[in-house]
Amino acid sequence: MENKIRQIEKAPFLKRFIIPAGTALLGWLALHWISENLGWIENREVYKFAMNTVHFVLFFYLALNGFFVYRIMRMRGADLTERIAGSYITPLAYAIKEIIRVSEFFTLGESFFYCLCTHPVLGIFVGQAGLLAVSEMLCRKYYKKRNLYDANAVTAGPMAVLMVSLISIYFFFLYDAGGTAFYVYGELYKLLFR
C-alpha cells in the first residue's frame, strides 16, 4: 500500500497529520460534550429529537471517522503508518475515555479488557480497519482514473483486511444478534480474570 502516486507532495506534518487527525478528535469531543449536556431541555419531544440526532451523528462520526481522515491524510502525502495512526486517534481517545469511565467499577486490567468487548470498542476498531481498506482502494482508483497511479487499485492486502473486518462485524453484531460473540467474550474474561 506504499505511495505509488505521482505528483503528490508530502505536506508538512502539521498539515498531513495533526490537522486532519486533530480536527476529527476535536469534533468527537464537541459532539460527546453536547450529548452529555442536553438534560436542560424540558420539552420531551425536543429533548428526544436532540438526543436522537446527536447520538446518531456521534455514532456515525465515530464509526466512519477513519474513512475520511485516512483519505485526507492520503491526499496530503502521509505514509501508511501515519494514515493508520491518524485514523485511529479518535477511536483510541474514545477507548481511553471508556477505560477511565469503567475504572469506577472494574480493576485496571478489567478496564483495558473492556475495550475488547465487541459492542462499544472492539466493534469500532475492526469496523474502522475495514473502512481504511475501502478508503485505500478508493483513493487508488481515484488516482488511477487520473493516471496518477500505476498498480491495481484492488489488491490482496486491503481486500483481506476488509474481509476480516466484515466477518468480524457479522459475528459481533449480526450472528445470533451478537449473543454468541458476547458469550465468547465472557468465557475469555473468565479465563483471564477468574
Binding site: H55, F56, L58, R101, F105, E110, C117, P120, G179, G186
Partner: protein
C-alpha cells in the same frame, strides 16, 4: 325423657357417623388424608412488575395473567434480591440470598453439590418433579437432584433462541426446527401435567420470554406498532445502549429503544397466550382447584428510566417483579392484592409449606402461605438487595436494605452511598443521606445491612 349417659351419646354419634358415611352423606374428604396440591411455578425473564394488563398498562393485553391475578393473590410489592438472571434464578430454587447460594453473577458457577433446591424436599414428600425451560446458570448444565424430567437449553450461552432453539431433553440434545420456544416449552409442560400418576407434581416452567433479543411469533409481530409510547420516561431516547447504559457511542443503532420495547410487549403477549392455554388445560383436566400456580419474573427491567435499558441496579423498576399465586383450595378472599413485601427467596418456603413438605433449613425466605390464607398482611419489614460485579456491565457492586418506605444503598468504588424515599422518589433522584431525615435513619439502616450480610457491613 330417658337420661342418656355420655358413653351412650358417644356411641350413638359414632354409629350415626358410620351410617352416614356408608350412605355417602358425609364427604369422604373429611376423614381422608388431605390430598397434596400440585405445584406449578412459571418464571418469566425480565418481565417488569407493571407489565400486566391488570396493572393498568396503557395497551398491553394479558388476559392470562389478569385471570391469574383475579383468581389468586397478587403480590404487588414483590422484589428480587439481586436483579440479574442467574442469581435470581438460584434464589428462587434455593430460597437463599445470592451471597448464600453463591451464584453471584452470570459467570459464577452453580454448585450442584452444595446447593439444595426445594425439589429435594418435595421429592421426599412424594412429588414427581419437572424442570422445563431456561436454566441459565453458569457452568455445565447439572443433573439437578430430585428432578424427574429436565428439559432445558444451552444455546447462546444458556439464553436460548426464540425460534428453532435446540432443547436438551433429559440429557439428549434435540433439534426443534420451526418451533417458537414459548409454545414449545408450554407443550412440554402440558405433556408433563397430563401424565397419569398417583403422585402430586411440581412443575417449574422457566421461559426465555421476555429476554432480549425480543422476538414475538409471526402472528403477533407488529400488533402494538401504532401504540402511543409517550408514557415511557422523559429521559428515554431511541439509541440507549444495552451495555453502557447511556449512549450509542460505539454501539450500532440497529434497533431503536422504541422498536425493542414494542417487541418486548409482543413477546410478553405471546407468553401470556401460552399461560392462558396452560390454565385452560388445568381446567379441562379438573386440576385447577388443587393446583397452586405461581407466576413470577426473575427481575424487573428499565425501559429508559435513568437513561438505561436493563436491570442491573437497585432502581425500583429493576428490583420489582410480578408475583401472583393462584391456589383456589388454599386461598381466602381470592382476587385481592397483597401489599406486604414478597421476595424471590420466598418461593421455595412457600411451595414447601403448601405441599406440607419438610421446610428447607437453610432458607432465607419466608412462606407466603399465611398471606394466602389471609392470616397475615405481611411477612417482613425489610430485605437485603445485593448486586455483584457482572463484567462487562457498567454497574458497581452494591448492597442495600429496602424497607417499605426507603432504600439504603452502598457501592464499591467511587460512588457515594444514598438513602432514598421509594414512595416519594421512586427514581432515586433525591439522596437523603445528608439530610436530618437521612441521618436519623442511617444507623438503623447500617445495622440492618450488617445483620443481613452476616456482619460484612456496606461492602466497602
Amino acid at each position: 325423657m330417658k337420661n342418656v349417659t355420655r358413653r351412650e351419646l358417644l356411641s350413638m354419634t359414632a354409629k350415626l357417623a358410620a351410617g352416614a358415611t356408608m350412605a355417602g352423606l358425609i364427604p369422604k374428604a373429611l376423614f381422608a388424608r388431605e390430598e397434596k396440591p400440585n405445584l406449578i411455578f412459571i418464571l418469566t425473564d425480565d418481565q417488569r412488575w407493571d407489565h400486566l394488563g391488570c396493572m393498568g398498562h396503557p395497551f398491553l393485553k394479558t388476559p392470562g395473567m389478569d385471570r391469574l391475578a383475579r383468581e389468586g393473590v397478587h403480590f404487588t410489592n414483590a422484589f428480587c434480591t439481586t436483579s440479574l438472571c442467574s442469581p435470581s434464578r438460584a434464589s428462587f430454587l434455593t430460597g437463599q440470598y445470592a451471597h448464600h447460594h453463591g451464584v453471584k453473577d452470570n459467570l459464577t458457577v452453580w454448585d450442584n453439590e452444595k446447593n439444595r433446591t426445594f425439589f429435594e424436599n418435595l421429592k421426599e414428600a412424594g412429588y414427581r418433579n419437572a424442570f422445563i425451560g431456561k436454566w441459565h446458570m453458569p457452568g455445565k448444565i447439572p443433573k439437578i437432584n430430585s428432578v424427574d424430567r429436565f428439559i432445558t437449553f444451552d444455546a447462546s450461552g444458556g439464553q436460548g433462541y426464540y425460534y428453532n432453539c435446540p432443547l436438551i431433553i433429559d440429557g439428549v440434545k434435540t433439534e426443534r426446527p420451526g418451533k417458537y420456544i414459548t409454545t414449545d416449552l408450554t407443550d412440554y409442560a402440558i405433556q408433563f401435567i397430563k401424565e397419569k400418576s398417583e403422585k402430586p407434581f411440581c412443575l417449574y416452567l422457566s421461559h426465555k420470554a421476555v429476554h432480549s433479543p425480543w422476538r414475538p411469533p409471526e402472528d403477533l409481530e407488529g400488533i402494538y406498532k401504532n401504540e402511543d409510547l409517550s408514557f415511557l420516561p422523559k429521559e428515554t431516547f431511541s439509541f440507549i445502549s444495552l451495555l453502557s447504559g447511556k449512549a450509542i457511542e460505539g454501539a450500532p443503532p440497529f434497533f431503536t429503544t422504541e422498536r425493542n420495547y414494542l417487541r418486548y410487549c409482543e413477546s410478553l403477549t405471546a407468553f401470556d397466550r401460552e399461560l392462558a392455554r396452560l390454565l385452560d388445560e388445568l381446567d379441562q383436566l379438573g386440576m385447577a382447584r388443587n393446583t397452586a400456580v405461581v407466576l413470577a419474573g426473575d427481575n424487573g427491567y428499565s425501559w429508559g428510566e435513568h437513561m438505561d435499558v436493563g436491570k442491573r441496579d437497585a432502581s425500583e423498576v429493576n428490583i420489582r417483579i410480578p408475583f401472583v399465586i393462584r391456589y383456589p383450595r388454599g386461598t381466602v378472599k381470592p382476587g385481592r392484592r397483597a401489599e406486604g413485601m414478597a421476595l424471590n427467596i420466598d418461593l421455595a418456603p412457600t411451595l414447601l409449606d403448601l405441599a406440607g413438605a419438610a421446610p428447607k433449613r437453610d432458607c432465607d425466605g419466608i412462606s407466603l402461605k399465611p398471606v394466602l390464607e389471609n392470616r397475615k398482611e405481611k411477612v417482613r419489614e425489610s430485605f437485603l438487595y445485593e448486586y455483584f460485579k457482572d463484567f462487562p456491565y457498567n454497574v458497581p457492586e452494591q448492597y442495600g436494605v429496602r424497607t417499605e418506605s426507603h432504600i439504603y444503598m452502598t457501592y464499591r468504588g467511587r460512588r457515594k452511598a444514598g438513602i432514598f424515599d421509594v414512595k416519594k422518589d421512586p427514581g432515586y433522584r433525591n439522596n437523603l443521606i445528608e439530610t436530618p431525615e437521612g441521618k436519623r435513619m442511617l444507623p438503623e439502616m447500617k445495622r440492618l445491612l450488617a445483620q443481613y450480610r452476616g456482619g460484612a457491613g456496606d461492602g466497602k
